[in-house]
Assembly symmetry: C2
Homo-oligomer: 399 residues x 2
């Protein structure tokens, strides 16, 4: 587990820094989490090794009909279900039932009648059923029809749907080799934050507690319930050092004022700062650090829109790498109006679509979520801005 | 809560029966589950009433910079943070801090210096800062900038993303009126089913336990852990009558043989059969019933592919209606080869794409999941079949 500070050029002003940084993050964490997980925990995860049939599927020949298994010519002496058959013998069978040794074919229930003869039960064809019925093999599902033992049925790298997991079960697996969802700890700061009711002057409502767990889960992480911290150096350091999560996401405290404790707490915990800030707006104060032992810390700004843009910039590729998923690909849309340049920084702007293309949405200040909630998506505007009609990148949203 | 048997024409042979049945199901359950849920439980749910701002957002004017609030002309007498200001007074403020009464503008920290004068602290402009700095209103974020009190910020009918839930929090909500995910009980039958290891001859591995909860959740339900039943009339009746779920999904036992107990158990429980079977393949023995009091029972066949096709046919529209979502829309694809007709029945066929369009996938027997796992999707072939090049409907998969 190692991510190198030199991988990241996000404090550069180069145009490609933002995209290149995402790619470096995804590559830097690729494959850290491969291990075995029980089937019911594998849905949505990426398979680390192929699934091969551990036995022929189905592993025994079975009847496709309710009726009788039989061998030889009419009349057939009726044996108990499951008996091995000799010539002119038959036995009852239900759909899906095992085909006993010696069976030639299955006679469906509507085609036979059972009679008493010499104190024994005999099976005969029902009146009108032709003498060639059943031909050899009729209504027998052979073993190995779905897969031969050893067949690769799902290739490595597949993101597992319920259909894949069902196939793994019938192929004899109880667990699968997958890239597991990493545990993600959530530490929320801000003495001014309240979690319910109408806030008093100077207070703001928490937007992270009800939303970050679901966003982290959508990006591939396994979030713990959010933990709230006072704006205090010692409490911040203890929470970071004490967390057992592979990835810690914090909100707030990323600035450099006396009320901001994240950077000093990281330093005290012996963390290396991999990304001290990102040349983007909003979200510039975001940071990425690595604790001794390899655990990662994503520091998000306290403003909700800034935090979301930073999480999608830093967290989405990191978690894609950790979970073996392809990195969320950028889309594209035509700019419907001019987007102003911003020296040295990418701008991430929630947009609406008008007749010409993407135009900035309203209500997109870094503390505002209203614009993002109503937006068609988020455009990534490079430092030189964009002209009307120019194709600009769009950021994939995890919902 | 009422669904009428007459709404369903799925035992008709008419071509439109399959699609019309889906629409009737979604319409029949629409809006049953509207109620209030805490914010963190609302993600992915559909809003039943609009979200309106309960207060101006932000609800107080705040500083956009670290520095000083001030009024009147230089020099400014320095007051404690938060003091109401008279002419030629100033007070320290941090970003996001409350703007006190009397404030005219904010002077950013780099633009001011504090000196001692007559035993008091005085604020002055730093050398080189022009005398017109700060103009009135500078660096003040006004109240109501994101929304005025009473503004509709999210319309009814919206499926809630984390951005909407964040907006609801800042608008003063602790809970929201939504169509809640209905509780779905899962009852799995089959004495021949084993849940782990390599199955013995006559045994089959369970494919439902590890997959149905996730599929039901993706369709909008809130699944309970699967409950396993013996192939026994009394146990089946007790489990159905005893379930507290709004929707019960069963697997297996939908046939009419002596080993199948679902239909007799439903009759004993006083259920009305709304859909006794569906003219489709695979999945024909599936049923829909309603218990006294309105609870619904979806009976799926025991074969995995048949069960999945029946769940997507019956369960997807029912859960869409219950959760206020738009019904999953059918897609379309060109047939890449001839699909044979099947008198009176729709066929649901996992397909692969070749150069010409959709062709049937391999391994698509009703007991097989391998074909579906590898398929590009599922085509819905009408009773008259489809010619090469003809546009055929595709069934949306929930993963």
């Amino acid at each position: 587990m190692s991510l190198e500070p030199d991988s990241f050029a996000w404090t550069d002003a180069r145009e490609t820094a933002w995209s290149a940084g995402r790619e470096a993050l995804a590559a830097g964490t690729a494959g850290w989490t491969a291990s075995s997980a029980p089937l019911e925990q594998c849905l949505g995860l990426v398979l680390a090794e192929p699934i091969t049939a551990q036995l022929p599927v189905p592993h025994y020949a079975s009847s496709a009909m309710d009726g009788w298994v039989l061998a030889g010519t009419e009349p057939w002496q009726l044996k108990p279900p499951g008996s091995a058959l000799a010539a002119s013998e038959a036995a009852p069978v239900v759909t899906g039932g095992l085909i006993p040794e010696g069976t030639v074919a299955v006679l469906r229930s509507e085609y036979g009648v059972v009679e008493q003869a010499d104190g024994q039960q005999q099976l005969r064809r029902a009146p009108g059923v032709p003498a060639e019925e059943p031909p050899a093999g009729r209504h027998i599902r052979p073993a190995g029809e779905e897969a031969a033992a050893g067949d690769t049925v799902v290739p490595a790298g597949t993101r597992l749907t319920p259909a894949h997991v069902a196939v793994a079960a019938v192929c004899g697996y109880d667990s699968l080799p997958v890239y597991r969802a990493p545990a993600v700890g959530l530490l929320l700061t801000g003495d001014e934050v309240v979690t319910g009711g109408l806030p008093a002057p100077g207070q703001v409502r928490d937007t992270f507690g009800p939303t970050l767990p679901a966003i982290v889960a959508a990006l591939g992480g396994q979030p713990s319930p959010p933990h709230r911290l006072p704006d205090d150096f010692e409490a911040t350091r203890e929470a970071i050092e004490g967390s057992k999560a592979s990835v810690i996401v914090t909100t707030g405290g990323t600035g450099h004022s006396r009320a901001d404790h994240l950077r000093s707490a990281l330093q005290a915990a012996g963390a290396r700062i991999l990304v001290p800030s990102i040349r983007m707006r909003p979200g510039h104060p975001a940071l990425l650090a690595q604790l001794p032992g390899g655990r990662l810390v994503i520091g998000l700004p306290g403003n909700p829109l800034a935090a979301m843009m930073a999480l999608l910039t830093l967290g989405a590729p990191l978690l894609a790498g950790l979970t073996g998923r392809a990195m969320p690909e950028l889309g594209g849309v035509a700019a419907g109006s001019r987007f102003a340049p911003l020296e040295g920084r990418h701008r991430l702007v929630p947009y609406a679509l008008d007749g010409h293309g993407a135009v900035p949405a309203e209500h997109v200040g870094s503390a505002m979520m209203r614009g993002l909630a109503a937006a068609s998506g988020v455009v990534v505007i490079p430092p030189q801005g964009a002209r009307p009609g120019e194709l600009v990148a769009t950021l994939p949203l995890p919902w």
